[in-house]
Chain length 142, copies 2
DNA sequence: CTGTATCCGTGGTGATACTG
DNA sequence: CAGTATCACCACGGATACAG
């Protein structure tokens, strides 16, 4: 199954093969799963952690330092969730003091592509969004 | 570090060469903005509404019916947020009873591509994620 | 029909203290 | 170092009633 990544902007002719239309419909049908994943990955910390681990493998307190503002509790929870979803691997070295390394799994790395696409969109359109917000808020302030 | 922005949108013309690597690095730098947008769009209802409006323009109660389980309050709030961000347009026809049509703006439609990329990833990997969760939960249940 | 206003439970988040 | 445990706060979301 494949989804057309350049959906009808304007008068795009989708007449030809309805394959991607079907796929899009299926995608809409599975939009609950997509939404779920978006909120999993779109929570306050997951994406930042994934991005940091995308650079390289990290230890716990290393992450704690470079993920700005995260609490120990939230880092633990975030990592546990990512591990549960199979996006991050946790490797314990039973030395003393203990050493735990976190890294992206292949599945976690494969998420990077789609996320990068979305990141690019945000970068490209952040200005427009902020302008729109400013204009909207201006209209509302009476 | 090799990042492939495979689902390159039509509109975005990055010159060439290692531009996308640069973009990726910038993406990491702007990960806060990306995270913000992910949680905006990854909330409980936004994506479903965007997808429904991606099919066609809709009226308020029309959306209320087809977006399964959404409350009136949440639909209003979701639409207001999307409108504020410039992703959705709101057209009031001052008849009686009033008629309000919601539609995706060009900006809103441009979001479809990246989101479809992510959707595809979710569809492709949902099974793996669920397996991973099941395995994880099995290990934890003692 | 298309909203706004209000109340309220739940869960996500941070701060802090403690443990192996 | 790498967590767990506990408490308190508050934003999110649902239900309901009301309004233009």
């Amino acid at each position: 199954m494949e989804i057309d990544l350049a959906p009808a902007q304007e008068g795009t002719e989708r007449s030809q093969g309805d394959t991607h239309v079907t796929a899009a419909i299926e995608a809409v049908g599975a939009c609950q799963a997509v939404t779920d994943m978006l909120s999993r990955v779109g929570d306050k910390w997951s994406m930042q952690v994934v991005m940091k681990l995308g650079e390289q493998s990290r230890r716990f307190n290393e992450l704690r330092r470079i993920v700005d503002g995260i609490s120990q509790r939230m880092l633990t929870r975030t990592l546990r969730n990512l591990e549960r979803d199979g996006l991050v691997s946790r490797t314990v070295t039973p030395t003393v003091p203990p050493r735990v390394d976190y890294a992206l799994t292949p599945l976690g790395r494969s998420l990077w592509g789609p996320v990068a696409g979305l990141s690019q969109w945000v970068l490209d359109n952040r200005g427009r969004i902020e302008s729109s917000r400013a204009a909207y808020d201006l209209r509302e302030e009476d």
